[in-house]
Symmetry: C2
Subunit: 596 residues, 2 copies
């Protein structure tokens, strides 16, 4: 049966040696993140994930959620107790401000824990995950009263949150929404409409569910400029926070899906439900993007988290399963066959997974650190620079890492041969669960368009130039040292990426479809280069530790080998993607629709 | 709800214009394949698939198969009647010899029909599909009595067949099997053992099930040289073919799988079941490969077939679903939004699918024609040349086309956004169903090893040289014509492939792990180049028809655009794969197992 072990040594390596967390001790919250505190969080959090949440992953998938005739929803057996342990342990508020009962720890640290949470049980992780998104919006644009009323309960996990955007006829194009909000005259609004695909929309884990809902006010402008955001609690609380009578919002049905069965994906019916405006009138889309950006990093983390568990199980199977003999002669002649590990093509799959996952972890934690810096760096210029960087890289983390997560889950399943296709072994669930991350919070195609249409050109391409500058500086520092070869591979790939970006700038103006057709290749190139960059950082950190005689030698040497594998086996795709990108839009767009 | 339309015009184009079926009218069976006969088969067969089998695809997936307490298995509602129509229409024996009641038509034609069958309902198609594999083995190595006893019933569909290879502890490494065959002294054997993952192992579609079972005779040599093949009928027939009493073989359980739920995947228990030797003692593995090679082409066809249906539905959805506006300005300003078709990244996914599928169809039909020629060409040298070619390309068709099928099904699902993840829309089923084709009949990693370890080096690389010769000849003929650019792209890719193969030859001898680590990239390179070659053939055929003013102009022009797309957007991967391959085995194999 599947297993999961939190990769604590890897997380520590990234936090300590690659990001150098101790350099930020002067920042608010970072002082509390002492090495002992970090250890305690990773170890105790990891234990909870491995021992409590992971054992519910397969059973939760098999059982799924159940909607009853009274529109209530029951989560799978064990979820209530597990959620209670998550909430009572203070894990939901790990990164939330102390003013609202949180622990005020750095986002980079709560992100490290969140990876383990996702790895152990992504459907379970989504319940607090959606709450995090709703809290982010409340923190950013809520009034003081709203913050005081909702946040402490959400931080404590007593109440959960949701995001209500999609309607049957509109997902990406939110300008088309039909849900209406009529002022009731007492400062509240009457919300009417139907929302679909609402994750954690109804369940039995929390006393109250705080729905954040996009709707249109009477006479609002057409399209996305006429959308407002509302707080619609399942039980509207009084001023003291005591939940009142049931609001006119209910779960109409739960969707039958490919995966994440243990998360209730609801059709939510709003029948004149009472809501309150969050933020300004007709500024709902901007508010939603606050939630979305946090959520997109979380979804990128799902790519990593699910694939990590799939990979760990593929490794375990490859160590145990015996088929055939090594091409170089029997490795264990006294056994009836050698293990799968002797076969280069099995190794190839495992190394592709390993080299991608370790770099993805570094990239996500680097991104989370930028989020921290964007809020907490003492200098405004540093805050702004960090904000630019994370804005640029967010669609790459969401889009590329979720593509990768699905690919890795598929490869890990492949290592199992026929057994990978059988439910009992658990591998096919990882594939089904990983699939949704490429779709929700904006499909990966939408991420690619966000990258080339908004993030790259913003402020004259400042963020991209900053990112390329950081990568080039690392390459320059490595070029004469023991990582020269790796730096050379990366330099070539960065050159391809820059050439691709330049082509896009020059040809996207001429014909915007050139930008559209180049978007996906460019996002993928940026993803691969970003992981390559992380490998350069990790290899240099490992080399420095080796040179200093510090740390686990075998662990550090494995980093150097894995970095080399990434350079030789993963970076070459960047060149092919550049050629595809430079093909332009013509052949993509030329066929009349009837020819399909 | 999903739809499926057999792509008859495309099939006709390949048969008539690309392969030039009329040139082979002198071959046995080809004479009967007059244009009218071909039309009748494609149209009537296509109608049956679209109207009878396809409507059972989604319901069959939802219902699955049921094993009862008496070990009998019921297929989903409608399957019995559908199977009766398939059998009574003579579709199972389309390519079988007339001597056994078949229609003796060319394999290339039965393959064209088989694509539609798979597209409509792959789980259903597997029941006759497994029978085809068993018939191939009986035809090749059965005694005259065995052929006479079994084949007519199997051709008629009254009886079905299975292949029993895998055991719990061995899949790829069949030398490890434990199933025993004890001579009973009357010419029959007593078979005892457990087989797993037996597709169509037990069901209610046919009167009898003829299991072909690998087992070991007493005192047989160790490993794969000691395996024999046995015929074990569910109801052993008397000499007149009347099924007798129930044999001691039964379905112990059916597996819960990721997909192909409507096919019963059985654990088969043999408890002293009566069997008869098929072929020679201890030559079972060679016999099994006869079945496997036929089956591998069939599985490659599954990659194409499932993806075709997924693609058709993505096209239909993209035509209908309105989200956002064209980057070049509203395409339909009077509508609330434009269709998905205006978005370059949606087009990219659809064109990747279209350009791959049309070339895959051409490749599979080209391969099927080689099978025909390997049996029926008048000259021995031509038969041998065709056999060499199809042996070489079989692992590529199986391995690359099934990888592609899964990718395309995934992309088609992506076009649906959130709706792609919901069961009701049917898209997630195609992904789940397509996944198995990468695993069974030898995982795709095993296909890659078959290619580099057996097929490429065989007879001093004769087959590969012949294939490269054919491709080069087509390039040379196209280089000064209107397809010069396409030919140039292909020539470059072929050069990369040849360089990769050369690297492999030189470095695989030095260290066999270099061959193992290069196998998968090389298989993929050969797959892409083969599709590129088919595009050159198709583009030249389309151009010739256009020049002659024959045929549907829009249809032919679409071929030229799609060929260009393939060259610009799909061929570049070949260069990246060469670089990966040339990385060699070092970084792949360097880590100690404990480092994973």
């Amino acid at each position: 049966m599947p297993t999961y072990t939190p990769p604590i040594a890897d997380t520590r390596f990234v936090l300590d040696k690659v990001l150098g967390l101790d350099r930020y001790a002067n920042l608010p919250g970072f002082g509390a993140a002492t090495p002992d505190m970090v250890d305690a969080i990773l170890e105790e959090g990891g234990r909870l994930c491995a021992e409590v949440f992971f054992p519910l992953n397969q059973s939760g998938d098999a059982e799924g959620c159940t909607r009853h005739d009274d529109a209530s929803v029951t989560t799978p057996a064990g979820f209530r107790d597990a959620y209670r342990q998550l909430a009572e342990g203070g894990w939901i508020g790990l990164g939330a401000p102390e003013a609202f009962g949180g622990q005020g720890l750095p986002h980079v640290l709560s992100t490290a824990f969140e990876e383990y949470l996702i790895s152990s049980n992504v459907a379970f992780a989504m319940y607090p995950g959606l709450t995090q998104g709703a809290m982010a919006a409340l923190l950013a644009i809520g009034s003081d009263e709203q913050k005081a009323l909702y946040l402490p309960k959400m931080v404590a996990g007593t109440w959960t949150g949701t995001m209500n955007l999609t309607e049957p006829h509109c997902g990406t194009d939110l300008g088309l929404i039909k849900t209406r909000a009529e002022p009731k005259g007492d400062g509240s609004f009457s919300i009417t409409g139907t929302k679909i695909f609402i994750s954690a929309g109804e369940h039995d884990l929390s006393q109250n569910i705080i729905h954040l809902v996009l709707a249109k006010l009477p006479g609002a402008p057409e399209g996305s400029k006429g959308i407002s955001l509302f707080i619609v609690p399942k039980f509207p609380p009084d001023a003291e926070g005591n939940p009142g009578t049931r609001n006119a919002v209910s779960c109409g049905s739960i969707e039958e899906k490919m995966g994440i069965h243990a998360n209730s994906t609801c059709v939510m019916n709003y029948d004149g439900a009472t809501g309150w405006l969050l933020g300004e009138e007709n500024k709902g889309l901007a508010a939603m993007f606050i939630m979305m950006n946090a959520a997109r990093l979380g979804v990128g983390l799902q790519g990593l988290g699910i694939a990590e568990t799939a990979y760990q199980n593929a490794v375990a199977y490859a160590k145990e399963r015996r088929q055939g003999r090594a091409l170089t002669g029997p490795a264990e002649p006294d056994k009836p066959a050698d293990t799968l590990f002797v076969h280069p093509d099995v190794r190839r799959m495992l190394m592709e997974a390993k080299s991608s996952l370790e770099a993805a972890r570094a990239l996500v934690l680097w991104g989370a650190l930028q989020v921290d810096l964007s809020h907490k760096a003492p200098e405004a210029a540093d805050r702004e620079a960090a904000d630019e960087l994370i804005s640029l890289v967010t669609p790459v983390i969401k889009g590329y890492l979720t593509d990768l997560g699905y690919e890795i889950a598929t490869k890990a399943q492949q290592v199992f041969g026929g057994h990978g296709y059988i439910r009992e072994y658990g591998m096919e669930q990882y594939v089904r669960d990983a699939r949704i991350a490429m779709i929700y919070e904006g499909t990966n195609g939408v991420q690619a368009m966000d990258l080339v249409g908004r993030k790259l050109p913003r402020h004259g391409g400042k963020a991209a130039m900053a990112l390329f500058g950081l990568i080039s500086a690392d390459i320059a520092q490595a070029k004469d040292g023991p990582q020269a070869e790796l730096a050379g591979h990366l330099e070539k790939a960065v050159g391809q990426l820059q050439a691709g970006a330049l082509w896009l700038m020059q040809n996207g103006m001429k014909d915007p479809n050139n930008a559209g057709a180049a978007a996906y290749p460019l996002m993928t190139m940026m993803g691969i280069v970003s992981l390559g960059w992380m490998w350069l950082k990790m290899a240099r950190a490992a080399q420095a530790a080796l040179d200093a005689g510090e740390g686990d030698k075998a662990f550090l040497e494995a980093k150097l080998v894995t970095a080399r594998f990434f350079a030789e086996r993963m970076l070459p795709d960047v060149g092919a993607l550049r050629r595809k990108l430079e093909g332009g839009a013509e052949a993509v767009m030329a066929l009349p629709v009837e020819a399909f």
